[in-house]
Symmetry: none
Subunit: 216 residues, 4 copies
DNA sequence: CATGAATGAGCATTCATTCAT
DNA sequence: CATGAATGAATGCTCATTCAT
């Protein structure tokens, strides 16, 4: 007869918004990110995380609502960060749509490069969320995607990008380039700035190229 | 006490190379692909697969060496397919390096679009292989990647692509665009050919773009 | 990401109706009854039952769907038995309603005396069922109760029992006398037949008494 | 390593007899009764009770010696109340044994009806006490039962009840009718006085009935 | 008095794998 | 080839209880 949903009176992390997160909350989340990054969410055990924090398995439940709760918080944290990047790009004044898009790409790549582990968990294990948590995240994601698609449409409207290409497809090409970094990028080998430059360049030309290269 | 390698005296799947695969082997592998695609490898159970084949869990072990064995076979199957695409592109005669690269992109995208489920499993769960199986696959993958990098270097040597860009980074941008399709592409919405066209175009311009767009 | 409901292909006891129960099923259920009787359902562990059957805890799940499933089967088994008693009493031909009621009491007491442990579990732990299982049992129980109430109303209609008493209250008095045996009756001390006689007599007079004893 | 008895140096609830209970003690006990009534003792958590009192789980241990301690106090409280009823009946002057028994039934039913929740906990979860607490309660119970049996024997001695019936069995029939109310009686539907009347009437006739009804 | 944090033992359940028939 | 039964290790989670502050 399990009674799942947060019973009142039970402490459970304040990370959900009801007050400043306790230091230990942050520590737990950080450890979880590390573990999930290394083993994948499904293969990570609550024990692993407890060990990393130096706590007993049972004690961890003072801070979390369950394993999935950890993933959910992680994923939301990423969304918060990414939203900032997106907003900054959108609010840039006096620049063309293409420049705003480029700014977005740059910011997003930079953010991902600096939060490689959490971002990896985000992209690899987001589907493991279930129920309401899943729906919440899917909604946030859809919103984000739509805004980027709109941005691309703006570049089309301003004549910087060919208008006959499907903006949503283009967005997905771009996402692929940006996101896939989580599988190969290592900061030791390439500075984040260089990565951001390279991808932003790749994307810009990918979108704007017009010259007939095939049959001259 | 999981046993990894086939013990003598027990009939173990011939799919590993020692003879033509029996029909039931193919059926099992196909079912596994479906299940892994839907639930992810870690969340799929041998029971699920047995159910799909209409067999008891225990009986499945006549055909397989273990759960990981299934993943390994799946992943190898993908590599076989992809290798063909790559080889075809490499052997194209009388065309420029850029055209060969474009051919590769096109073939790879098309292959992925037609084998969406297995390809998804490949990219999502390849890390779950362990030990020798993992090393085998990593080797195959490295080989593949290197050949693509070489192809890009050829385009640089032929002057079609700027030589001052890191070919390996460029390869990764391209991989991202191609591979990420496994997360969003749905054949019902967009024909595979259109996808191949779109991505090949995006990649070509991403690589070859030269005009100074930022500060004219 | 737990997947609860009986997945196809999983053996799970045939005791649910789909075929004759395997001998081990009966054994498991019997052991569970014993354990639940001694410790109460909530304090019994699956381990206890496994030990009693001489099986590993995990192996038990080949036979059951979960701990609650065991309770559910037990409780249904009791209902099956009790229903027979009730039906027999109802179908008695050529006798008065009071005699039919008396027959019911006798049969029910006898049944309880012979199935003391399972009956105890039934009355003590029936509330621990949840969800659909609970609703199922509550429905069966209501049906049973209603039939007994009807029987009492028949005795009132036939003039054997005072008509101004609430039949449902009377039924509950009777149930109390019959059911409470599960807390004190020990077959070693009193033969079941004597118990049945005693209770049936007590109930008959309790219902039919009319003479003014208080203020003569 | 649960600690049973109060250690010196730590303030432990005074409810055990060493002084008048503090107001908060009463509040805690009341909350526990409510919780135990709803979930059953075994399924109730100390957290639940703390929530109900508006206190943290840890703080509760200032007032109690443990979960079982709460049950023990509850059960004793019931015994105190019941003892009063019994004593009142015993001490009634100038009335027949049957009238004294009837008075007892009436008082007991009334008491139960007015303390439904605690009484329910008493009858349902008394077995969950262990060790000395259990033995204490069993002794109190035996004493109570014996006094009622004696009362019945008095009615037999006075010729109001047939002497050839086992007084202890009769007592158990009566207990059943009275006690079982905890499972079905709802004060909203039937006034306590009516219940007391009904049961006392049922019991009186059940005991005194003599006329040959079966084979006239 | 009360809080907050932690402990540690226990529990139901899952699942890959084995193997005699 | 296939079945059915069993193994055994692991896993997420619960909860009574302790105790320094």
């Amino acid at each position: 007869m399990p009674r799942k949903a947060g019973r009142s009176g039970r402490p459970v992390s304040r990370a959900g918004g009801s007050g400043p997160p306790r230091p230990r909350d942050v520590e737990v989340l950080h450890a979880a990110a590390e573990i999930f990054y290394v083993n994948g969410y499904a293969n990570s055990t609550v024990q692993d995380i407890a060990d990393a924090v130096g706590m007993l398995k049972g004690s961890l439940y003072y801070y979390i609502d369950g394993k999935e709760d950890l993933l959910y918080r992680l994923v939301n944290e990423i969304h918060d960060g990414v939203e900032q990047a997106l907003t900054a790009a959108f609010e840039a004044q006096g620049v063309s749509a293409l420049e705003r898009l480029e700014l977005y790409v740059r910011q997003q790549v930079t953010y991902n490069a600096h939060n490689l582990k959490k971002v990896s968990v985000y992209y690899h294990d987001i589907d493991q969320l279930s129920g309401k948590r899943r729906r919440d995240i899917e909604a946030r994601r859809r919103t984000h995607d739509n805004r980027v698609v709109d941005l691309i449409r703006d570049t089309q409207a301003e004549g910087q990008t060919r208008a006959d290409l499907d903006a949503r497809l283009l967005a997905n090409y771009i996402f692929g380039t940006i996101i896939w970094t989580y599988r190969w990028y290592r900061p030791e080998a390439v500075p984040a700035a260089e990565l951001a430059n390279g991808i932003s360049r790749f994307v810009r030309y990918g979108l704007t190229g017009t010259e007939p290269l095939r049959h001259p």
